[in-house]
Amino acid sequence: MNLYDLIFYLFAAITIVSAVIVVNAKNIVYAAFSLMFTFFGVAGLYVLLGADFIAIVQVMVYIGGILVLLLFGVMLTHKITSVDIKTGTVQLIPALIIIGIFAAVLVGLMYSTHWATKPAEIPVTTTKSLGNLLVTEYVLIFELLGILLLVAMIGAATIARRDGEK
């Protein structure tokens, strides 16, 4: 067991444990904070996979953007002071059974499949290559995504606007 493995297990553990907390937390604020750790762990896994840029983006977008957005959502839809911030569950038992089986099948599948892999290359920094790709090969999709973000922003603002606001 070398250092790489150790770090992998560490991040994997952080990810999964915090994810378990996320899905089981009664208090939504706890869940949101646990989610932050999950995202962080995932970012670490990215780093281990040699995707440094993606890892940075993960941290910035998820933790800095989406998570904050979620927290705003929590705060806007709940009275913080009340105990109503705890959330219930539905169909816990059948879901647990089904998803347990599903998880077992899925994990077994992932683990036991002999994937056609190639020897891992030595990781190099990917930021420059990604930038090149984004403005050459994937430029159309890139720009479409920009438009999508614009539309999403306008749409979100429109949907969330209170009635009567002009």
């Binding site: 899905v23 996979l49 806007l76 839809t77 998803i99 892999t117 995504l145 973000l149 979100a156």
Partner: protein, 103 residues
């Protein structure tokens, strides 16, 4: 114990995926459901990046992961707007009680 390979990442991704599904399926609160969706998206992203790395097929996987993150951001924004609207309408965000079309 063998050394870390593709399988390990995929297993982590699978567990994360299952947990995300679990959250989507069981939680009442719409925001918790959204969190589950984020977990699922993250697990997918791990897969993309992992395949990109071990498949040694260039940076296509990472690009896709990047796009997924962008879409997730857009989705989160729209979804939270919808959640706010729900709250305005029903004064709560419990999706199991929002069944007007069922009756």
């Amino acid at each position: 114990m063998e050394s870390i390979g593709l399988n390990h990442f995929l297993v982590v991704s699978a567990i994360l995926f299952s947990l995300g599904i679990y959250a989507v399926v069981t939680r009442k609160n719409a925001i918790m459901v959204l969190m589950g969706i984020e977990l699922i998206l993250n697990s997918a992203n791990i897969n993309f990046v992992a395949f990109s790395r071990y498949g040694n097929s260039g940076l296509g996987g990472q690009i896709t992961a990047l796009f997924v993150i962008i879409l997730a951001a857009a989705e989160a924004a729209i979804a939270l707007a919808i959640v706010l609207n729900l709250y305005k309408t029903f004064a709560h965000v419990n999706i199991d009680e929002i069944d007007k079309l069922n009756s």
